[in-house]
């Protein structure tokens, strides 16, 4: 074995090895920069961070978890809707978050409670309530009712007084 040839062979081998080292370095660099390799670790860290953030929010902001979540526009909503609008039934200004209970009184607390009341007063009341799903009474009411009110207006005046009579302490 001649020395020079062995030397040349060694050099060649070193050359090849350097190429492969460069390949490995390049690939690892890519993996590192793209965060591909440590995905598990990274995700765990991010999870921990987001949990911490949520805890911090809770302690300062306060309510139930679900209500403090940010929507896709970055807005948060208070737990109870606070916008005020006009009830389409009685025309009173109502806080949106209290609309359902108001409607209950405004249109009659459920069917059973109303059904117990005398039919004539119920019919009269229902004739005034616009948009009421209780249209079962409509055929009767059209026969007996003397008040014909157009849609959407203050048709519940009679009811209103009736309500107050019932519910004011």
């Amino acid at each position: 074995m001649s020395s020079p040839r062995s030397q040349q062979a060694s050099d060649c081998f070193g050359d090849l090895l350097d190429c492969i080292i460069a390949d490995v370095a390049s690939e690892c660099h890519r993996i590192a920069r793209l965060g591909l390799d440590r995905n598990l670790e990274e995700e765990e860290e991010e999870l921990r961070r987001s949990v911490q953030a949520r805890v911090a929010d809770q302690s300062s902001g306060g309510e139930a978890n679900g209500k403090n979540v940010v929507d896709i526009f970055g807005q948060t909503h208070p737990a109870i809707a606070s916008e005020i609008f006009e009830c389409m039934n009685c025309g009173r200004p109502i806080v949106a978050g209290r609309f359902a209970p108001h409607l209950e009184k405004c249109m009659g607390k459920g069917r059973k409670a109303r059904a117990k009341a005398t039919r004539s007063s119920t019919i009269a009341r229902n004739r005034h309530s616009r948009g009421s799903p209780v249209s079962v009474y409509a055929p009767y009411s059209s026969a007996t009712s003397t008040h014909r009110v157009p849609n959407g207006t203050v048709g519940g005046i009679g009811e209103e007084y009736a309500d107050h009579a019932f519910e004011e302490p």
Partner: protein, 112 residues
């Protein structure tokens, strides 16, 4: 050479580059590439290094380095420097022997 404000003329194709003549090393390299042997040797070496786990060891070194330095601060040069000493030293003897043998045969057969 005369100092000139003009761009120096583009060297002609036939002229040798004004460096030293091609060294023996370079000639060997050219012959390796032209014959396709370099490609084959590369593939062989890559395969052997993967089989023996050398590649995984090098990747582990890179990962550890990236973790330490922060993965966004890593450069390719960094990684090359990190791997090279260990990489050169940790090639299994059998792999090295096999490759050297093939290279030597090539040199002989190309009468270099």
């Amino acid at each position: 050479m005369r100092a000139s404000i003009n761009r120096p003329p583009t060297p002609d194709a036939e002229e040798d580059p004004p460096q030293k003549e091609l060294s023996l090393r370079e000639i060997i390299n050219i012959k390796l590439i032209e014959s396709g042997e370099k490609e084959k040797l590369m593939e062989l070496l890559r395969e052997r290094l993967i089989e023996c786990g050398w590649r995984d060891e090098m990747k582990a070194l890179c990962r550890a380095y990236a973790r330490k330095k922060g993965r966004k601060n890593v450069t390719v040069d960094d990684l090359v420097q990190v791997i090279t000493p260990e990489g050169r030293a940790s090639v299994p003897d059998s792999v090295k022997a096999e490759l050297l043998q093939r290279i030597r045969s090539f040199l002989v057969s190309s009468s270099l």
